[in-house]
Structures are given as C-alpha cells and as structure tokens.
C-alpha cells in the first residue's frame, strides 16, 4: 500500500471486491504463511520475517485486484481465488529471493544438483531443510528426526512432480482439488499422483534399507 499510484488504481474498484479479497486473505493466511516459511531460502531465515513477505504479497494482490477471480464465494470460484492468491505469493517470494540473494544465486545453483524443479521455488531443498530437525529430549522425537533425515535424502530421489505433490499436500496443507488446480491436472489425476508418490517414496525407503516405518 506504500505506492500511492497503486492505491488510486485500486480505489476505483468496487468496495465489495476488496472486502472479498480481505476475507480470502484472512481465510488462507495460515496456509500461505506455511508456504512462505517452507519455500523461503534458509539463508534468509534469520533476516526476513515470513510475515513481511506475506504482507508484500498482499499489497501485490491488492494492486492486481482487477484480476481477482470473480465469484470467490462459490466453491469453484473460491478455489481459483485461492490459487490466484497463492500464485501471487509465489511470485513475491521469487522477487524477494532475487532481491536478497541475487549475487549468491550462482552459489545456490552449484549446490542444487537436481533437475529443474516443477515449481519455480524449489521443493526438494525445502523438504530436506525442514526434515533435518533438532533432536529433542523425548527419544521418540530423536528417532523421528533420524527417520526424517533419512526421509529427506530419499525424497530428493523422487521425481520433481512426486516431490511437489507431497510438498503441496503435507507442507503447504493443500487439499486434493487445490493440488490439482496448482498443477493444472484433474482431481482424479491428482489423487492418483499422490498415492503413487507415497508408494514410490516407500519403495525407495525400503530399497535403501531404511528404518521400518511401521
């Protein structure tokens, strides 16, 4: 909202659209924040507050309110509105990465050996980072974090699409139809993809002689 031009542009839109947007933001705030935390470069973790990234994305959304999908209160309209908003957050995050890590991008590129990720903001590294957690006192947690470390290594072996499906479902907490919309596939296909990704992950874990998960 700091750009005065943007404000005048959006002021001419009906007030109801902006109210709709505000409501949408409130509804999905938690999950979008999750997404930012999950996909934000860990080198920025201490420097940037995910809330600020979200704030910036909301300003962006407000500026582009004329593209805000119609009828966001019905079911399919609500879905596309969320997908639209999520896309804006994703683009904002890419901008933020460019701005803060521009000079270091080559370093990042050297570390990342995977093929081009399905999402502009890589998934597998985020998963790996998330999974290598600190060991806490209760031993179950210790066991769990070893499992997770192993899981991280195995996840990286999955195809990009498989990784993305699992990340969207579990890390961003998207529903099946939201995953379908983000990936541009049918809900049935998304459903099959998800089960397949889980099975593939299980297979790879078994192959690598991992800990038993049962």
């Amino acid at each position: 909202m700091s750009d005065p031009l943007a404000m005048t542009a959006s002021l001419v839109l009906p007030a109801s659209r902006r109210a709709e947007l505000a409501e949408l933001l409130a509804t999905h705030r938690e999950r979008l924040l999750r997404m930012v935390r999950f996909r934000m470069d860990r080198r920025l973790a201490g420097r940037l507050d995910p809330e600020d990234v979200l704030q910036e994305a909301f300003v962006q959304a407000d500026q582009r309110i004329e593209h805000f999908p119609q009828g966001s209160d019905d079911e399919s309209g609500g879905l596309s509105a969320f997908i639209w908003l999520r896309l804006i957050v994703e683009q904002t995050l890419i901008d933020v990465h460019r701005r803060h890590l521009g000079a270091q991008r080559r370093d990042a590129g050297r570390e990342v050996s995977l093929a081009k990720p399905a999402s502009p903001v890589a998934t597998s590294q985020s998963i790996a980072g998330r999974l290598v957690g600190a060991i806490t006192s209760p031993s179950q947690a210790a066991l769990r974090s070893e499992r997770e470390a192993q899981l991280a290594a195995t996840l990286a072996k999955l195809s990009d699409l498989d990784q993305e499906v699992l990340a969207l479902r579990h890390f961003e907490q998207l529903s099946n139809s939201e995953v379908a919309a983000v990936l541009g596939i049918e809900t049935k296909a998304a459903s099959i993809r998800y089960v397949r990704a889980l099975k593939r992950l299980k297979e790879l874990l078994t192959e690598s002689g991992g800990l038993s998960y049962a």
């Binding site: 006192s137 209760p138 210790a142 874990l205």
Partner: protein
C-alpha cells in the same frame, strides 16, 4: 473419482492436524480391504506431517527472544536450553524470591487435552517434597508461553560438571556466577563426591517411587550439583508430561535415548528403569564417557537392547571395585537383576560410604535362574544346565575377587595406578571425523538448528531452495 486410499489419507491427515488421537491400526481395522496399504503408507504420512511442523516448533526456540516478564516473574537472564525448553533465572517480584523458569517449546502443547495432561503431570511431580528433588512451584502460561516455576538451585548440571572434570578444570561457574571446586578425576575426593551425588539421587528416587512417581528421564543433565556437592534431581515426570500422543503401534517411549532402559523400548517403565538410568549416569561419572556412545538413535537402541554395559574398570582401572559392582547391578539388562528398590540402593551406598561391604554381587545366580525358569518354563529345561555352569563360574570368580571395602580401595590420587590410568580417561571426543563426541558442552552451547553432528553418508545437509 478420487482414489479410495487418498480419501482415507485425507481424513487421517485432517484428524491428525486437528489434534485428534488417531491410530494407524484403527484405520487399518476399519478398512480391511486397504489395511495393508494403510499400514504401509500411513506411518510415512505421519512422518511427513510431523516433519512439516518441525520447523515451527524448532524455530521459535532458536530465535526466541527472552521475555521481559512472565506473569509476576521478572526474567533476569538465560541459564540454558535443551530439548525440554529454555531455562531462565527470574525473580518473583511479590515474594522477592529467585526462581528458575522453564519455558517449554512452543507448539508442544498445542491442544487443550495435552495441555491439561501436562499440567496434571507437572502438579503430581511437583508435589514431591524431598531435600534432593527440585520441586515445581507452579505451572503458568502468559503471552502464549507455557512455563514451570521452580526454585533456583545454585548449582550446575552434572553433565556440565563432568565435562569440566574431563577437561581437567579445577572449578566450574554455577548459575550465580560463583565458582564450584571440581575434584580431579580418580582422586579420593572425586569418589566421595560421586558417592554423595549417587546417594542424593537414590534417596530422591526412593521417595518418588514411594509416592508412585517415576522420573523416566534420569540423565546427567537432570541432576544438578549444588555448591555443597549435593544432588538435586530435576524434571521429575516431565518426560511423561511432555510426551506426545503416540500414533504408531510402538509402546510408550519417553526419556533420553542414551539412558533409557532396554525394557522401555518394549513400552515398560518401572522403578527399575529409573535405577538403570541412574546406573548409566553413574557409569559416566566413573568413566567420563557414556556407556553407549552411539550417535545414531537406531544404533544406540540396538546397542542398549542387545549389548551389556561394559565393565567400568575395563575403561578406567582406577575405579574402586565396589563402584563397578554397584553400577553394573544398576545397569543390568534384565530389570530383576537390578536392585529391587531404590531403598536397597540407598542402603548399599550408605555401606559403601561407611567403608562397609556392599551387598551387591556381580550376580545372584540361584535366584536369577529360578525366576527365569518360572518365566520361561519351556526354554528353561534346555538352558538351565548351561546357565548353571556359567553362574557357578561367576560365583567362584566373585568369591575370589570379593573386594575389600571402598576406603581401602581408594587409589592414591597422585602417582601410582591413577597415573597409569590417566591416558585412557580422556576418550577421544567421539569417533574420528565426527565432530564433538559424547561430551556435549553445557546445554546452552549446543546448536539447535545447525546441521546435526555425525550425519551419515548419503544424508542431505539442509540446502536452500533454488531461486529462479
């Protein structure tokens, strides 16, 4: 049409996020046609879900800013942090008393049911009053934080103290900044301090067990040593209180892995499990290294459940024989081979301190054999003869080696045996190339979010996402 398994997974995850108590088995039972896939994939889903919330749990602790005050407590400074939260020194303004405030990691008590259980457990454990137990004054929450208020013990964690001993330090700073003299390892004063600490902890356990409370997480970090060399057992029952809802089929597993008794991996926790953990703690006091130094949880579990604790004197020959017998009895793999109660341990420690013969023997063959046969009538017939032969051998050995009382055994501190033993006492800090080994520094110096030590080959270090 969505995949039936995907629909169930969706339901499972939704319930899990709501904090409902759900089990993989219940799902498998309710859907027999998909049971195999459920048993195979749902635990994986569980791990994915817990991983996705890890960061939210860990991050606030790492970047957590010290609160100015909590309720009526003014926070003075941070004393340390660990898996169970951050400990601050505070002043309760109304009463003008110094307190220790333990702030729990956020999100661990995310649902009402767990919170209530935690408060209940903390109150039960906190109601223990004993000269060697750190009581809990109150449980509170303010500004979204949950915390425990305890008296401030002017002392230092035993883990910290042992690190100082291993480094050959002559003193260590305690909470108030005052120095606490550290006796040299293997000196007469050292064994005296060890006995005093062991006795205090054993008395605390005896009192708690009488009260029907188990500690479940005895370890060096949970034994505080005050300026008079007295032991204070802290975090009574907290492991249980902090335990999450168990989702998998595995039994109850609470406590710190390295000190957990073998039976705890089968879901049994008894007073003998606390005695075992105290035995492993004392093992470290004697040898300055953990009985099971494995760094990978799975390796540690394998070692604990399949191997016996090594004889302390094989690591440090300067250890008095009675000490070794006592620790091996505490750390016996079978619970019934340990002391039958903490009181009996107290009695033996008193004998040891008084220079009398302790009652513990390397083995109690007949009793053990008989008990075992009762439990395993079928196998007993086959194995009993063999057991008899080996216990007979041990009995003879025990009789021959029956050690004199501790006083006579205390090694001359400078020179002689202890000099000889010296090079073996400082183990290399962990396996080569593995970074800091078994001796962790004081808890507040441990990295929380950094890459874990001893990463196995093939495990990915955390990597940043690729900006495009």
């Amino acid at each position: 049409m969505r995949e039936p398994l995907e629909l169930l997974a969706d339901e499972f995850v939704t319930e899990r996020r709501r904090g409902a108590s759900i089990s993989v088995e219940a799902y498998a039972d309710a859907h027999p046609d998909l049971a195999d896939e459920i048993r195979e994939l749902f635990p994986l889903i569980d791990t994915l879900e817990s991983a996705s919330t890890h960061d939210e749990q860990a991050a606030p602790l790492a970047t957590f800013k010290r609160p100015e005050r909590l309720g009526d407590i003014e926070i003075v400074r941070e004393l340390g942090r660990g898996g169970m939260g951050i400990v601050y020194e505070g002043v309760q303004s109304k009463l003008g008393r110094k307190v220790a405030v333990k702030v729990l990691p956020q999100q661990t008590l995310f649902d009402q049911r767990r919170l209530e259980r935690f408060e209940r457990e903390a109150r039960t454990a906190g109601s223990l009053t004993h000269p060697h137990i750190v009581p809990i004054y109150s449980v509170g929450h303010a500004e979204g934080l949950h915390y425990l208020v305890m008296p401030l013990v002017e002392g230092v964690g035993l883990d910290h103290l042992l690190t100082a001993v291993a480094e050959g330090a002559t003193e260590v700073r305690i909470a108030s900044g005052l120095p606490l003299a550290v006796p040299a390892h293997n000196s007469a004063e050292y064994w005296k301090l060890a006995a005093q600490l062991a006795l205090g902890a054993a008395e605390a356990l005896a009192a708690a067990h009488q009260h029907g409370t188990l500690h479940r997480d005895i370890k060096p970090a949970n034994l505080l040593v005050d300026r008079h060399g007295a032991a204070w057992v802290t975090d009574f029952g907290l492991a249980k209180a902090m335990q999450g809802d168990d989702l998998s089929r595995s039994g109850e597993l609470v406590g710190t892995l390295r000190y957990m008794a073998p039976e705890q991996f089968r879901g049994e926790c008894t007073p003998q499990s606390d005695l075992y953990a105290l035995g492993l703690t004392l093992f470290e006091v004697l040898t300055l290294r953990p009985a099971f130094p494995q760094e990978q949880p799975s390796e540690a579990i394998r070692a604990i459940t399949q191997q016996s604790v090594p004889a302390p004197r094989s690591i440090n020959p300067a250890i008095p024989r009675d000490w070794e017998t006592l620790v091996l009895k505490l750390a016996a793999r079978e619970p019934q081979d340990r002391y039958a109660s903490a009181e009996l341990l107290v009695a033996d420690l008193r004998r040891m301190i008084a220079g009398e013969a302790i009652q513990a023997r390397p083995l109690r063959p007949m009793e053990r054999g008989a008990r075992w046969a009762k439990r395993n009538p079928l196998v007993a017939g086959l194995g009993f003869a063999l057991v008899l032969v080996s216990v007979a051998a041990v009995m003879v050995t025990a009789a021959l080696l029956r050690p004199p009382p501790i006083e006579q055994l205390a090694p001359p501190s400078p020179g002689g045996e202890s000099d000889f033993a010296e090079p073996r006492l400082r183990p290399p800090l962990g396996p080569p190339g593995r970074g800091p080994g078994p001796w962790r520094g004081p808890p507040n110096q441990r990295p929380r979010n950094g890459p874990r030590q001893g990463r196995p080959p093939g495990e990915l270090p955390p990597r940043p996402p690729q900006p495009v």
